[in-house]
């Protein structure tokens, strides 16, 4: 039996799914921390980008699915562009988001958007948010 962080075995089904959607090998990560260093929104995250990689290696992907992190990530690609191991970290974030969205867990409910306010904001903002944050 495992105690601590490893609960469902290392390369469990969830991680395999993440690998499939992202096309990334999380075991390439050697924890240099560059992704978190350059992340413009790391202060708003409950799990930092380097921890996302670490937890993924442990197969502790459930924690990431429940995190604020994957919704705060705005896909600016700073992490992906500077990763010394060529890991496209943004794709891993997207994979976790996608898994949630596919099971109906989204960040915003399109029906609850204030339509009167929507008139003032540009379509690019509205549509991109919906694309990233709704299922």
């Amino acid at each position: 039996m495992f105690r601590g962080i490893i609960k469902n075995g290392i390369r469990n089904e969830l991680l395999l799914k993440v690998e499939e959607i992202s096309g990334q090998n999380v075991f390439n990560c050697y924890q240099c921390g560059n992704c978190s260093s350059g992340c413009p929104v790391v202060e708003y995250m409950d799990i930092t980008p380097n921890q996302v990689l670490r937890l993924s290696q442990y197969g502790a992907s459930e924690e990431i699915l429940d995190s604020e992190t994957i919704w705060v990530c705005s896909t600016c690609l700073q992490c992906s562009s500077r990763c010394p191991k060529g890991i496209d970290v943004a794709r891993i974030m997207e994979a976790y988001r996608t898994i949630n969205l596919r099971s109906g867990i989204g960040k915003i409910n399109p029906r609850k958007i204030d339509v009167s306010a929507a008139n003032d904001i540009p379509p690019i903002l509205l549509v991109s948010a919906m694309r990233k944050l709704t299922g």
């Binding site: 499939e20 959607i21 992202s22 096309g23 413009p40 929104v41 708003y44 919704w71 705060v72 705005s74 896909t75 600016c76 690609l77 700073q78 992906s80 562009s81 496209d88 943004a90 794709r91 997207e94 994979a95 996608t98 960040k107 915003i108 958007i113 904001i121 540009p122 379509p123 690019i124 903002l125 509205l126 549509v127 991109s128 948010a129 694309r131 990233k132 944050l133």
Partner: protein
């Protein structure tokens, strides 16, 4: 020179001055933007999931229709449309299996997409095809004494394979502004994220990001920021209302599209309609510099 052109939704709405100024400025360079027919949404954000082609469909549909109309390239102004269209194109073009699947989805289009349409950002066209030297020669009203900060944000330089210039140290916008006679100042945050669509869900993120970007530019001495992304432009410009209320040491500065400045410099002028689409008044600065 005719330039087949893809506008995207925001250039027909809140950023119509971006399109309008581009058309006017390019006319002075003997170039016409020719809008493609039947375009649809670019998809806004390029999907990063490998296993879902549906999310690429909207982008590819534009490419297919352009191809059907006999176009072999599309010039894009909006950074986001540029990034999404170009990456979607590469995502399927070299993969026959994916291409076939996508074409099957789009059977209503009657023809198949073959993968012959190239995507260029207008800045690249200005640099490589028209050249900044030509632009410099045609400047009627040099933007003398205007101190500008070129803001790239994310989509023009990342991912690095799609950067329109060196992804850690681009200068393409600065070079254009210099050709127009302005002084462009380097500032630390020119490649940072503005907060993007977080404005809708977590406004505090976008407020902080935009504040830091503007502060960085102001401290470097910039009197205005220049961009090519309608989302950056919205955040950097319209969030200044709240930033101004929250931050004590804050001074508002106008946010321009690079085409607006081209229009002034090339002698196509300024339109008061454009001012209405800005939050921070651009005219005061332009008047101070004797550019209006």
């Amino acid at each position: 020179m005719n330039l087949p052109y893809y506008p995207g939704c925001t250039l027909k709405a809140n950023a119509s001055h971006f399109e309008d100024s581009a058309i006017k400025a390019l006319e002075k360079l003997n170039c016409q933007l020719q809008e493609m027919k039947d375009w649809v949404c670019c998809g806004t954000v390029f999907s990063l999931s490998n296993d879902d082609l549906m999310l690429q469909l909207s982008s590819i549909r534009n490419l297919l229709r352009a191809e059907k109309q006999g176009l072999n390239e599309l010039i894009v102004l909006c950074s986001m449309c540029y990034n999404t269209l170009k990456r979607s194109k590469d995502f399927i073009t070299d993969d026959k299996e994916k291409l076939e699947k996508v074409n099957n989805f789009m059977y209503m289009e009657e023809v198949d997409y073959k993968g012959t349409v190239d995507i260029y950002h207008l800045l690249t066209i200005l640099k490589d095809r028209i050249t900044f030297e030509t632009i410099q020669d045609k400047v009627k009203k040099p933007l003398n004494s205007l101190k500008l900060g070129a803001f790239y944000g994310c989509l023009l330089v990342r991912p690095k394979e799609y950067a329109i210039d060196d992804f850690e140290g681009p200068t393409i916008i600065e070079d254009l502004l210099s050709a127009l006679g302005a002084e462009s100042l380097d500032f630390a945050y020119k490649l940072e994220c503005c907060g993007a669509y977080q404005t809708l869900t977590q406004k505090d993120v976008s407020l902080k990001r935009s504040y830091e970007i503007i502060r960085s530019a102001s401290r470097a001495g910039c009197e205005a920021i220049v961009t090519s992304c309608p989302l950056c432009a919205y955040n950097l410009d319209f969030l200044q209302k709240e930033i101004d209320e929250e931050q004590v040491d804050f001074n508002k500065i106008p946010i321009f599209y690079f085409t607006e400045l081209m229009s002034i410099a090339l002698g196509a002028g300024w339109s008061s309609k454009w001012s209405e689409l800005h939050f921070v008044d651009p005219e005061q600065l332009l008047r101070d510099k004797h550019l209006l």
